[in-house]
Symmetry: C3
Subunit: 207 residues, 3 copies
């Protein structure tokens, strides 16, 4: 008992493809925070993933334009495609800044935020798989709740990071750099929450 | 002559509950800018209000999931719940930074922005009360216009604050801290405007 | 063979009016980056354009409230009006900061970002003209794709600008100022992309 129309699989597999790519990006970013050696090469690989995200986005938009009947609201598909793309974009932006700012030592709070982002993208992946079938919608909603919880965690770590930064650093340029990095990581988890909101909205309408 | 279906009261009273909480948060923030003594204790109280906001948000989402018939578009209810939560979140974020940045003297422009935020949240409260009844929709729209006007005011004060900051301060770390605080306060009034936009959209569809 | 109902011309001409004003604003900003003399007078003229944008926004909202039948979804019209206003708002915010930050020498990367913004607003104008008639919807979509491409260009230039800034500047206050200016310009092209997204969504629904 599947709840979508023919061709819906194309969209759902694209969403999964996009979320797999996002998890890969977050995993690579997390890896960088554990071992920042060969930074440039790793950051270039992440940029490649961002380009993969762009290609998926364009293909999905084309698919949307070619089909009159869609498995759920066109607007929700449109929103989901865009919001998914935002996650990999922000992850890539954070990685680029590691290079631009010539960051060599990774502060522990940045590593912690990268861990939370990775967990959040995995929940997102779980939610998008569970979206396939009405029977697993409850599971998708649970993953969305978890994404919200992780976003709160990221918020707490973000604040701790800022507190520590302003208490211990006297170099304004270092503060500017780390403040931006922390903020980008925290905003990547916000973008995961945006994806979760669209998923919730799709399930609400389907229920 | 009420325009909503049974159970709609539950949503409308939740929106009011949320907006009462937001007004309390903005009033406490404003109080802090008038008297920053016992800062930690006051900021912890504001954090409590942010948690109250989270609970209201979750209850509202549950209510939305449990009901097939809703007083207005599910998506608008979903958007309104999320946007209301954003207002208290940003107010709390600004309060936290007063502690993290060890701000002891409140600059006059910050006080002025807190005043505008308080006014804006009161108009938001007024709009949500007036949403209850078609007869008072014109009043709700007037409150929305006022929220837009206040957002413009906040923008003007924000720019004055930045001009003064960059003209008179030579300490980069002070500039970073105050720039972030001004920006958060201004963005809190932007989030009020987002709420007003959803309210306008609900009324437009109902008219 | 026009696809809209009576009165739709009013909306479509308002969108065009708004986009003409946005192009004028972006052209003036670009002019400032080529010749920053008489800065205050030019920035005041840009502020005037921002006010014109506000007036168009209010008139369009009133028109929306007065008409039951609209050429396309009320919500899309509402979103388009708001997103268009955002573009001129951010352009104006960037111009104001040139004055507030007492910028006298324009860095080449800022000029380049202003060029990209101008191109993007012209594509936006082209998309809104092409929205008038179903026969030219393909052209509107092409302009939207171009806006997306230009947003990617702005992103690349933004990163180069940051890399150069952090590599060559040792003055934290200069870094704060230019970082904010680059970020505002880049976000202006993001706001153009938001407009393009609404246009795409309107065309998707109409197809």
């Amino acid at each position: 008992m599947r709840w979508f129309l023919p061709k819906s699989n194309d969209f759902l597999s694209m969403f999964r493809h996009a979320s797999d790519n996002i998890v890969d990006g977050a995993a690579l970013f997390h890896e960088i925070t554990l071992d920042p050696s060969n930074l440039k090469e790793k950051v270039e690989r992440l940029k490649e993933m961002e380009h993969v995200g762009d290609r998926i986005t364009h293909e999905a938009m084309d698919l949307l334009n070619q089909h009159f009947i869609t498995p759920f609201d066109r607007e929700d598909i449109h929103a989901l495609i865009s919001r998914l793309d935002d996650v990999i974009d922000v992850t890539d932006a954070a990685a680029q800044r590691l290079v631009l700012f010539r960051i060599t030592a990774i502060p522990p709070h940045l590593r912690r935020l990268a861990e939370i982002l990775l967990s959040s993208t995995r929940e997102m992946q779980r939610a998008l798989v569970a979206l396939h079938n009405r029977k697993t919608h409850a599971e998708a909603l649970k993953a969305c709740v978890e994404i919200n919880r992780l976003e709160n965690d990221a918020d707490v770590v973000h604040r701790e990071a800022l507190g520590e930064l302003f208490a211990n650093s006297t170099d304004a340029i270092t503060i500017i750099k780390l403040k931006e990095l922390y903020s980008l990581l925290e905003s990547a988890t916000d973008r995961c929450e945006d994806v979760a909101n669209v998923v919730q909205s799709i399930i609400i309408k389907a229920s």
